[in-house]
Amino acid sequence: MPPRAPFFVPRLGCLLSLAFALAGCTSLSPEKQAERNRQLDDYRAGLKALRSGDLVSARQRLDSAVLTLGGLSVGDKTAKEARNYFKEESRKNFRGEPYERAMAFYYRGLLYWMDGEPDNARACFRSAAVQDMAPEIGITEADWTLLDYLDGLATVKLRGDGKDQLKRARKSARLNPPPDYDGQANVLVFLECGTGPTKYSAGEYGEQLRFRPGSAPGSLVQFVVNGQTNKFGPYDDLTYQATTRGGRLMDHILAGKAVFKTGADSFGDAAVVSGAILAIGGQGSRGAADEIGFGLLAAGLISKAVSAATTPAADTRTWDNLPNFISFAALRLAPGPHTAQIQFQTQTGQPVTTRAVTFTVAPDRDTVLFVSDRNL
């Protein structure tokens, strides 16, 4: 009879195969990852185009983005992958956190209003507000001041009653209370400034999603047109929106992954150590203790491999060209060409950026201006 190989040799082979298989779960080709980042690309490119005045591209990219958001994610295989303990959250198709999704609708709404469609603009602001609701964590209503305010203003413009929306906007106003509606205002100025929040991961395995606050040195806007000086403060703070929600359902899944990873690792440690002690104690006699020791050793190594393959890291992909503050102003101006001096100032009134903007007020519909401290 030929000599038998040590019984653990084939098991060790299985162990290595398993480790390789699990390691393979975590990688994704750059092309596939790019495909799953498409929504993020649309967000970034849409906003960049809007700031540069390329409204056609802005519409295209933001339309693509909000269409995706309009569909439910049921059946999204990449979302299922993200919930898998052995695949990273960042493998899922990017949709963004609620504040990012809300901003996509906000920008698309702004463009609709620019195109003379205030009802579709209002629809976008309403959809943006829905993104902010999270009944699973106790958030049953949105707390964006501007979304409610613009919803109400569009309603007033469409001969409706925007009182409820104004009331809600004032209730959620933390920075500045929005003024009464002026249904005769024909120039609508959408303002934004600063750099929005960014994401990072914390925790032992990076399983906790965290946000670095954004910043805006010039959050006050001085708008001078026809000799009239108007000052506007921000209404919504994206850092506040990103950081005050209290968590996601996905955080519980990631926490579960982290617990599993720790558990599998601890079990592996214990099994490897006790298995090694038993195996060494048996001194290769092929007795019961020897066999059990090698068995435990193998099980421990498998468990360590499983632990190593578990990926609890939070998805930190960020819509990174968002502003930190958004604001709005409605003015009455005569139809025709105008030039406005726009100055972003610090809270103490020190100028940060000053530029001139030339625009033409339409005679028969609202003229919408989008002013960012990055598109001047």
């Binding site: 309009g70 059946g75 899944i253 068995g295």
Partner: protein
Amino acid sequence: MNVLRPLTCASIAVVALFASGCASGVRNPSGVPVTVMKADEQGFVAGTGIESQDLVAVTDKMARSILNTPEIKGFAGGPPRVVLLPVENETRFALNKDIFLTRIRTQLNSKAQGQVRFLARERMQALEDERRLKREGSVTSNTNPNVQEFKGADFFLTGKLSGLTTKTKAGTSDYILYSFQLIDPRTTDILWEDSAEVKKQGLEDAAYR
């Protein structure tokens, strides 16, 4: 003693540990598929918003309803002339609103066999230009171009899309009421009104909640 038994136990334990990695511990982790309620057709639905099957169901119903209106059936002096007014969108879904009236118009034009005529007011600029060219003699005309032949509206057809959104732990629910009216521009009477309702609900995948 069977030395393989402890090994088997250890292997089962590790496999169980491995398999448990696939469990998330979250209720309905894959989400709940969207369900179309009280609509004529039910197919694959991507979201809770306004979709093509809603458009078809609603406009079919409206077209049938308009043709059964006594004011249309018994209109004296030939087929009534109808002008479309823009639909108001009060939902949370941005959409091309005119598509509803366009489909009602095409349904009526193709199936009503001349019981109703629509006036091409959205082409007014081109029509006026053409008439001016005829009056100036720049192009030929089979009739006297100086006679006013542009017709006025006997009815206005318009509509409104109203929505109600509910978001709870169970998911998002969107109810949309599609209402359409036929208005007499002479008296402001609403001669006909009908509506259709669609309610949809669904739950996002846990990975996005």
